[in-house]
């Protein structure tokens, strides 16, 4: 393994490129036409174009990625998360092409990627699962009967799903058929697989997941848990480790279950077993994510273990360099996901030019970003701009550092959830560790951005107009100089 193709984009591609460089490996970025010159392409040693902006013609196109690997002389492929990371056929194709797949065996991906097969595997391994139907939803009469058996409220979930796509909550029997249809349509669009099934909706559960690492020689360890309960649109926006209500006994039980689930599918490389944890301390297998997780930095911050570096080592066939006893959790880490979206409009994704971007810094602060000022946030992909994480010796310190870091963050252009995230961190229920998957709906429904410094902001806006030597428009082309924004802003020129 000498040269790694990074089959992804954005912050995770930047992060993988850094790990490759630190490991002395060359790396190759891929870019759709929407991403030429994007930060992830400049973080790697090489760049290969893989197609037009739409993901299915570029980052979701196995043939384009394999050709990129061939053309660039790569001998390994890291899929990151999302896109083809959990596509068993792609994993197989990579290995068939004689390349190293930096991820789990294709069969493990296939089993865990099918939620129904995953539930069956977990149950067979003695791992508790959420009550639900064990077969795909079929004709409507049978589904209605299944739903009664599962009980309302329930969830319709895509068998091939993930990240909240193809998922619908159903509180009353009357909503069932519309929810099935919407979920199936979304699932078909997202995963080319319209199978859906039913699962009991637990009330106010915590989302707690266990990070596992397994090598090719049969060794497997866990790296503790992450709590990722604070979600909107069924997608995580705040993650932390450890879980605020974790106990040694519960961690022992959950991690034992997680390792059992991983072993049941012959797991190798990094993976995450997700559970729901109810108020009584019972937990239920939800699914296994057979790839690096978005929120892996919080685990890295509390364990000191570089998960991507371990992925590279495991893929090279090296044994794990440490045992379970060597894994120590120190302090507390919290991550927030900065999205281009409008929290005042149902978290509607936003796009367009990123006019200004300033990442925060400071002791314990880690930023994983895939953006730069002046770039356009494409409409074609997930609108996450960056992950901002803080480590502290205790949870209160981590929160205080992260809250201060958000105050130093600048992201102008698209709408962002920056101020919303700050208010999550400020919320007394969050500070008390009282989190569950309904946290946002319960505490922050109808959130409006507070405007404590509106007058100061207006003053800043006015002062910005009082500088005469403003920059002219800059363009990368050789056309005549554009009219300056200053001229176009002439309507509200200074009085004298």
């Amino acid at each position: 393994m000498r040269r790694v193709l990074i089959a992804n984009r954005g912050e995770i591609a930047v992060r993988i490129a850094r790990a490759c460089r630190a490991a002395g490996l060359e790396c190759v970025a891929v870019a759709s036409d929407a991403d030429l010159g994007a930060p992830h392409t400049l973080a790697a040693d090489r760049m290969v174009r893989i197609g037009p902006a739409p993901a299915r013609e570029s980052y979701l196109d196995p043939a384009a990625l394999l050709e990129a690997a061939r053309a660039s002389g790569a001998d390994a492929v890291h899929p990151g998360y999302g896109f083809l990371a959990e596509n068993a056929a792609f994993a197989r194709a990579v290995e068939t092409a004689g390349l190293v797949w930096i991820g789990p065996p294709a069969d493990a991906i296939a089993t865990m990627g099918d939620k129904l097969a995953a539930r069956a595997a977990a149950m067979a391994a003695g791992v508790p699962v959420v009550p639900g139907t064990e077969t795909a939803a079929g004709d409507s009469a049978r589904v209605a009967a299944d739903a009664e058996r599962v009980g309302y409220p329930l969830l319709v979930k895509a068998a091939a799903g993930g990240g909240g796509k193809g998922m619908r909550i159903v509180r009353h029997p009357g909503e069932l058929s519309a929810a099935l249809e919407a979920a199936a349509r979304e699932a078909a669009g997202a995963f080319a697989d319209d199978r859906v099934y039913l699962e009991r909706l637990l009330e106010r559960p915590r989302h707690v997941e266990i990070q596992v690492l397994a090598d090719r020689h049969g060794a497997a360890v866990h790296l503790g848990e992450r709590e990722c309960s604070v979600q909107r649109r069924h997608q995580k926006i705040v993650e932390e480790s450890p879980c605020p209500v974790m106990t040694p006994a519960l961690r022992e039980a959950m991690s034992t279950a997680a390792l059992a689930a991983a072993r049941a599918v012959g797991y190798v490389n990094a993976g995450t077993v997700e559970f729901l944890l109810d108020a009584s301390g019972r937990f239920y297998f939800l699914e296994m994510n057979t790839r690096l997780q978005v929120e892996h930095p919080v685990t890295e911050l509390v364990t000191g273990i570089d998960l991507v570096a371990e992925q590279l080592r495991i893929a090279r066939g090296e044994p794990l360099g440490f045992s379970q006893a060597d894994v120590r959790l120190a302090g507390h880490a919290i991550e927030v996901r900065l999205y281009a979206e409008d929290p005042q409009a149902g978290f509607l994704p936003s796009a367009g030019p990123l006019l200004a971007w300033q990442a925060p810094a400071g002791p314990g602060i880690r930023v994983d970003a895939g953006v730069a000022a002046g770039m356009t946030i494409p409409v074609d992909y997930d609108p996450m701009l960056a992950k901002i994480a803080a480590w502290g010796p205790d949870r209160a310190t981590a929160i205080a550092r992260l809250r201060a870091a958000l105050g130093d963050t600048v992201a102008l252009g698209p709408y962002t959830n920056l101020a919303f995230l700050a208010d999550v961190l400020e919320h007394p229920a969050f500070r008390a560790g009282e989190t569950h998957t309904g946290f946002v709906d319960e505490h922050l429904a109808g959130w409006r951005q507070p405007l404590p410094d509106l007058h100061e902001a207006a003053l800043a806006a006015a002062l910005a107009g009082t500088t005469t030597g403003v920059p002219a428009a800059a363009s990368g082309s050789l056309e005549p100089v554009l009219p300056t924004p200053w001229e176009r802003l002439g309507r509200w020129r200074l009085g004298t």
Partner: protein
């Protein structure tokens, strides 16, 4: 030197009137008197995508503020203390806000694909009723009627790819 800037934030009109003498600033923001000292420093200004971006630092009431300001033709974005303030400026600031009232014109919030049209031309709809489902940035989003009224025109069909800002459906209020 004096300067006056008419801004609007949401429904709130805010006129900023300042007298600037070197780094000393006096005047009013809305109905509040303001006294401030402009501080130098901050990254150099630049232009991108039709906006001028500047760092603005000043001290006011003993406190130091550092803002990043992006000026576009019709609006000014200000990042301050981890929050973004979006001001309408110029003519846009003087337009009477129709926000909240609803116009009956349903536009695509961003480029995307129309997944489903949920109403027919001529149908009566109520404020809040789902009318069209659009998929953009990997999420299905349901757009709802912003008025009670009658569907006057449906400009798109399921499967269409649309640009941001394009009118999808027009509803005659009433």
């Amino acid at each position: 030197m004096s300067t006056t800037l008419e801004l609007r934030h949401g429904d709130e009109a805010l006129t900023v009137a300042l007298t600037i003498d070197g780094e000393r600033i006096r005047g009013t923001v809305g109905d509040r008197p303001v006294e401030a000292e402009r501080l130098s420093g901050g990254a150099p200004p630049y232009a991108t995508a039709g906006a001028v971006v500047q760092e603005i630092a000043f001290a006011s009431n003993g406190r130091t503020h550092r803002a990043v300001v992006a000026r576009q033709p019709d609006r000014i974005l200000v990042a301050l203390g981890g929050r973004t303030y979006v001001f309408a400026a110029g003519d846009a600031a003087r337009e009477v806000s129709a926000a909240g009232a609803g116009t009956g014109t349903i536009v695509a919030p961003m480029p995307g694909k129309v997944v489903a049209v949920l109403v027919e031309a001529g149908a009566r709809v109520e404020h809040g009723q789902p009318v069209v489902v659009i998929e953009a940035m990997k999420m299905e989003t349901t757009l709802v009627a912003d008025v009670d009224g009658e569907v006057a025109r449906i400009a798109i069909a399921a499967g269409d790819t649309v640009d941001g800002g394009v009118v999808l459906i027009e509803i005659t209020p009433g």
